[in-house]
Structure formats: C-alpha cells, structure tokens
Symmetry: C4
Subunit: 258 residues, 4 copies
C-alpha cells in the first residue's frame, strides 16, 4: 500500500541505515539552515536580490508538503490510525518540533526589526529535527541523567566559587572600575570569563590585591573545570561503550519512538 | 514530643531525602543570597527603593528564628542536652557558620563604604550553610585529602614553573614594559594568566625573545594543567563511584555529624 | 646488487630502526622547512642576501636527486618492476607527495606577490613526507576512524551549539555592534572563539543580556570540549597501548606500505 | 660519631619522613627565593633600604656553611670517603646544583643592569634544590620517559599543525597586518597563542578568510591538546599508582642517590 510505502520512506527499517527520503530530508534541513544563516549577512542578501525570497517560498512549500505527508503516513502506525490518531501524532514532541520549524517559513516578514531577527533565529531550530535520526542524543542525555547527582554538585560548587570570587573582586576593585566591578552582578561577567579560562580581557583587575585574587581564581578554575569535565567524559565514554556492545538494542528503542 | 518533631523537621531521617523544612530553608538561603547580590547593583537598589531594607529586616527575622529553633531542638540529640549541651552545640563548626551568616543581617549599615561591601560579601557566605545538606562535599574533600601527596607535588611543580617563567620574562621584557614585567612579582601576573590559558591580553611580551619564551610557557602550560586535572578527575570519579556502591553508608555518616 | 642496496638504504628492514640514509633525509626535510620558514621573514632574507637563492638551488638539486633515486630503486619491489612499474609507483600517494614537495624548489619566482607566498607555504608541505617514517600516524588515524560515530555526533552537537549561540548573540547585539554581531556568519567568529575558550577579546558582548548569554555559552563550552577531548584521549591511549603490546606487528604493516 | 650524626641530619633514614635539619633547609631555601623575588620589585627594595643587602649576606653565610657541612659529611657514605671521595661528591649533579645556587649569593653586584637581573634570576634556581627531597620528581620523569614515543609523536604533530596554520594565516593576512602576520615566524606567535587556547588577542585575523582559517585552527587545537593531555594524565596516574603500591621501594631508591 502507498501509506505503508510512504511511512517506510520516512521511517526506514531497523538496522538498514537511512532511506533515500531520510537523507534528502536531512540535506534539505541543513541546506535551509545554511540559507537562513547566510541571509542574515547583508552582503549576501544584497547579492541574492529577489532570489532570496523566492528560495524561501520554495523551502516553505517543500517543508509544508513534507509535514502533511508525515502526518498522513503516521496512520500506518496502529497507534496513530484515523483522524483522531493523526491529531494525537501532531501533539507528539517530534511533530511539534516539525511544525515549529516550518512556521517561520510560512509567515512573511518585512524590514530588519528585532522580531524578524528572532523569527530568523527560530528557523535555525529546524536543525533540532535532525535529532530524529540520532539515537546518540538519547544515549548522551541518559548518561547525563545518570550522573545528575554528581553534576548538580559540580555545578553548585562552581556556582558558589563564581559568586564568591565575583564578590571578592567587587570589594577590591568596585571603586576603581565601577563599570566592570561596581556590583556583584557586573563582577560575575569577569568571574565566569576567568573561571572558564575564556579570558576576553575587557574586565581585568588593575590593583595588586585584585590581581592576587584574580590569579587565585584562575588557578582554582583548573580544579572547577576538571570536575565536570571528568564526570562528563566518563559518562560519554560509558554511553558510547554501551552502544558498541548493543547497537541493535539502541536502534530498536529508537524505532519505537520515531 | 515537640522537641523531637522540630529536630526531625530540621534534620530528617536517613534515606528519606529532604524534609519540607529543609527545602524551605535551602530556598530561603538561596533567595537571600540572590537578594544580597542584586542589592549591590545600584540600578536594582534604586528600583527597589525603601523595599530593599524592609526585605532585609524580614530575612534577618526569619534567619534569627531559625537559628534559635536549631539551637533549641539540638537538645533532642543526647550529646547536646541541657543548657550546657546547647552551648556546646553553638560551638560546633556548623552552628558557628549559621551564626556568622545571620550576623550581617542583624546589624544595619549606611553609605557605600568599603566596610559595607565586605559585610555584604559576608552575607553570601550564607551559601556555605547549604553544605549542611551535602554529603558530596565530604566525599570530595576526602578524595582530595587522599591525593594530597600528588597534588602537593603538582602544585609545587606548577609554582616553580610559574616563578621561573616570570623570572625569564622579567629578565627579557623588564626594561621595555616596566609596568607589567618590571619585577618578578609583576611578571607573575602574566605568568599565571598564560599558564592557566586565561590569557587576558593586558600583559603581553613584545620582543622576539620574549615571545619565544612566552610561547614555550604557553606550551608547557598544557602539561602543567594536565597533571592536577588528571589527578583531580581520577579522585572525583573514585569518590562518586564509592558513593554509588554504598549510598546508605555515606548518608549514615552524614547523619552522625548533622 | 646496487638496486637492492639503494632500496634498503631508503626503506630499511623491519625492526631495525632508521637507516643512515633515512635519518639524513629526515634532517634535510626539517632543515629545508626551517629554511623556507625563515626566508619569509624580511630581516632574515636581507641578512642572507644572495645566499638565500643559492641554498635554495642546492636543496632543489638534492631533493630532485633523491626523488629520481627513489623512483629508480622502487624497482627492487616486485610490484613496481620495469618502466611501467615505476610509473605506477610515481602514482602512489607517497610518491605524489614527494613530487609536490620538490616542485616549488624546481620553479623560481620573483617579487613578494600572494602567489609566491602560496608557493612558499607549499614547501612546508615537505614536512608531511616525514610521515613516511611514522607508523604512529596510521595508528592515530585508525583510532580516529574507529570512533567516527562518536566524533561525528560530538562535532554535530558542537556545530549546533555554535550556530545557536551565534544566532542568540546576533539577535541581542546585532544593532549595537554590527561589525561583530551584525549577521550570524559574523557572530560565528565570536561563538567559536568563546566555545574553544580562546577568547581573543576583539568581539565581546556589551549589553547585560548579551553578557548573560555569553556567560552561558562559555559554561556550555566546558561540556562541549569535554566530549571530543574524552573520546580522542581514550582513542589515542587505546591506539598506543595496542602498539606497546604488539610493536612488531605495527612495524610489519608499515613495511608493507613503504 | 659526629660525622654520622651530621650525615643523618642532612639525609635522614628511610621511611621516617624529613629530619628537623631537612625541614629547616627547605624553609630557608623557600624563604631565600621569596626574598630574591621580592627584591626585584623597586617598591620593596626601597622599603627595605640597607636591610636588603644585610639579609643577603646572612643568607649567603648560612648557605655556604650548609654547603661545607654537606661536602664534609658526604664522607660518611663509603663511596665518598677521603678528600678524593669528597671531590667526587662535589662533581655529582645534586652537589653542583647546590654550588650553583650559592654562587650568586657569594658575589656582590651593583646597579640595575641586565646581567644583575640574570644573576637574580639564577638565585631562584635554589628552588631546584628542593628536588633533593622529592622522589616524586623521579617518578614523573620516569613516566614521561616511558611515554617518550607517544609524546614525540604528539609534539611532532602539534609542531606540524602550528607551522601549517601559521603559514596559512601568513598567506592570507600577511599584507594587511605585516607586524603580526608579515612572515611565518611572526605568525607562529599567533598560531601558538591560538592552539594553546591562551588567546591574548594582540594578533587577531581581520579578514573573513583569515577568520575562517583561525576558527578551524582554534577547533583543531582541542584535538591537539587532547592528545598530550591524555598521554600525560595517564602517565602521571600510573606513576603515582605505582608509588602507592610500593612506597618503601621508591624511598629506598631515593636514599641510594642522596
């Protein structure tokens, strides 16, 4: 039957890799995201001229058609049969992400306002639809959940150190550099930049005492980053090792949700 | 009895998670810390107007009441019975932290002096009271103590490299950039920023020889950070693995101290 | 026979380390690369005067002679016998790298144009010929290939976070700093600099909301870097551990290709 | 006998920790280093006035006396008996470090010349004498030697990437920013700062192509740092694990050399 064939094209069978339709869909999603990113650059927008809007219309049509087909063929799954079943399917998280991803393509816009920028940004969320093809995401989320106790502790300790070091620099440099250390919320910017070792260099202590405290902060940052890094690295390596041992099982559970 | 009930509300029973009183206390501590942080920002202080001081009075009252209840209900523990027992309880480290945390709320202040800033900073220490609920802190401290030999060595080696690289840059760039490399203590700021890979960019060598030495310093920083990171990550993963295998035991020892 | 002797000088025997010819060739390659690098510095070029071009001619002659000898002695290998066999040898990837590495030495140039710079850069590729002597490179590439699934996922997730954070900062700071955040492609520069913790400090958010988002980006960078770092570190340590257990086998497979 | 007692005071017995003389010597070394560092700061030098030179004379006397006692009591070791044995002792690496460390204290100096700075820097080398008390240093050096093959490869690969990225940026940005990218040696400074994620921000690409290449460099830096970090962390954890299992043996071999 056609319904079964379309369903198979979109969902594939276990252990056979991606179907041609799935690959085409993934390519289209990535392409539309790159196009949405490129359009924000004024020089690209100018170079494309009227073509930019025409390409947008085409992408909107293809994505809408794909959405309609996905809803229709969902009926091949016994739990989504009939009109009611299809409405239930439309309420599943994955179908909602699909809908959200096509909405900004369906509605036009004009001018360069802040709202337009948010809408354009939203179109990038289409990327998250790729997760449909990824069982790895589930493994990673699971492994993070398994370590939530350790991670909560590491995050809590890091948060306390960020606040205390921000408070220390606020006390010492608050009068001299009010723009960057005039309040604890402002000093937090410096504190996070230093503890993550990003070190932009816009907010930098200038007094001797401030530098001593900042040096201690930078050194304590090594330990603070070592904790979540170690926990996450161990969790990821466990998750991927589990998948290696049991790839079929992982795919099976993926199938169930898709 | 009431004494037992209050003691139970504050300390809970082993293996049953946090009581409603403990959760309320934790929420209040975090809330008061956020409030203390926000008040340092002039724009927030202006926006709140007279409410800021009123909220402070409320927080002070609630924390004082909590402290009095804690001291009173400590008598439910046989080792803190009677007036003498409660005084002994007040001398325990955790009770002293509680007292220190409410002191700045009890005393008023005026103006924007350096002392006020220190007092406000002190209020953030209320955060450390959350450790009362954390057995993980003990695990982490224990695991660090177990590796004190390795960490001392790593810190000693890092210290020697920090001093030697600061000395090298002082020799080479001392005459050209006296503000940042005019003495070894000044050059230490550059040296720590580079070896921790923070790299603010305020102190940067400008001569060819200085850049060669700085490049060697940056590269040796990788090894220096790898050592404590590796030691700490291994220690943390061991500590949390031990807890996984024996969660009851960890909670038991926590109970004993609380 | 001479053919066998020359072949042995260039390729050595299994388990006996490098031959004197191989060491001389490696020293010459490294020396010519250092010379090519040094010549790009105008002060060095001026100091060397006419000697720079003369040294270049000598290097070109030695490398050309080496290439001819290599092609000739390839005949000692049964699969590259005769003129046809030698042409087949010249088409192998390693022989093509050798040819590419001597081409820029064979053709002269004049002036300081962009093309000259590209040609000079090309000469540095001579370095890649050293891989001929390295079985470790194969081990590393193999271990990376074994983890291609995990690495693809880590790279995909990192790519999504880089794009989303760039989009967020573009929305917030696009109007204020059009040079650095005026489009998503421009904001990508900031985003990559922050997530890799390089933090040059040329593109830095200035608004409160922008700083909050940048702080979240910097913190999420820890997890994003922990994933590939953990995967790669595990892959490398496995690859080198395998070599330790079976060093002869690794050398054997190297021999086969050389 | 006195000779035995003094030898014991300086060298201790196996498994008994440090003697009082050893602790006093370590404190004096650290103190003299801190003093040498502080004297480079003009404000400290001015504050100390004449006392600075007097303290220097005292340190010189104590260190010289210690050196003479060490040489004399070396005779308690059968292999260094007699005048000839002591001369042999003076030629051991540790005794030479001791001599080098007191030389700058024995010779005076005047003015703020570059030579003085080098001499002062030399005094910091007194720190290396502390290694006499450290068996951990040997363990770490051994573990690094055991992995010399892996580390050589990692360093070689990192070196190749540093040179290639410097060459790429030199080709692209050489004309626009001649000060930082005008030659490959100059571009190396940028390349090392980026790959180690220090990111001072003094040398930063400004063209679109340069930024794309720099972004790729920053990302590849993650993998390049993951390799030596993983190798070193594994080597250190092995070395310290070995010591835990066999602490007596490590001390024994330390004894033999001291």
């Amino acid at each position: 039957m056609l319904l079964q064939a379309v369903h198979h094209a979109f969902h594939g069978t276990q252990g056979n890799g991606l179907t041609r339709t799935q690959i085409a869909s993934a390519v289209l999603i990535i392409g539309s995201v790159i196009f949405a990113i490129a359009r924000t650059e004024p020089t690209v927008e100018t170079a494309l001229g009227g073509w930019a809007d025409r390409i947008d219309v085409i992408i909107a049509c293809v994505f809408s058609m794909e959405y309609i087909l996905r809803v229709w063929c969902a009926g091949a799954n016994p739990s989504f049969e009939g009109v009611r079943g299809r409405l239930r399917y439309m309420a599943t998280p994955m179908a909602l992400v699909d809908l959200l991803a096509i909405l900004p393509f369906l509605f036009g816009w004009g001018g360069q306002s802040f709202l337009v920028r948010i809408i354009r940004l939203f179109r990038i969320l289409a990327l998250s639809r790729l997760l449909r093809y990824s069982e790895a995401m589930r493994l990673v989320l699971e492994s993070i959940l398994n370590r939530r106790y350790e991670l909560t502790f590491a995050v809590g300790l890091a948060g306390a150190v960020i606040i205390l070091t921000a408070g220390a620099l606020y006390s010492v440099e608050g009068d001299i550099q009010p723009e960057y250390f005039g309040s604890i919320p402002r000093a937090l910017w410096w504190s996070i930049c230093t503890l993550t070792t990003v070190g932009y260099g816009d907010a930098v202590p200038v007094t001797a005492l401030g530098k001593v405290l900042a040096a201690l902060t930078a050194i304590s940052g090594i330990g603070l980053i070592a904790m979540p890094t170690g926990i996450l690295a161990a969790a990821f390596s466990e998750a991927f090792a589990r998948r290696r041992e049991n790839p079929g099982g992982a795919k099976k559970s993926d199938q169930r949700e898709g």
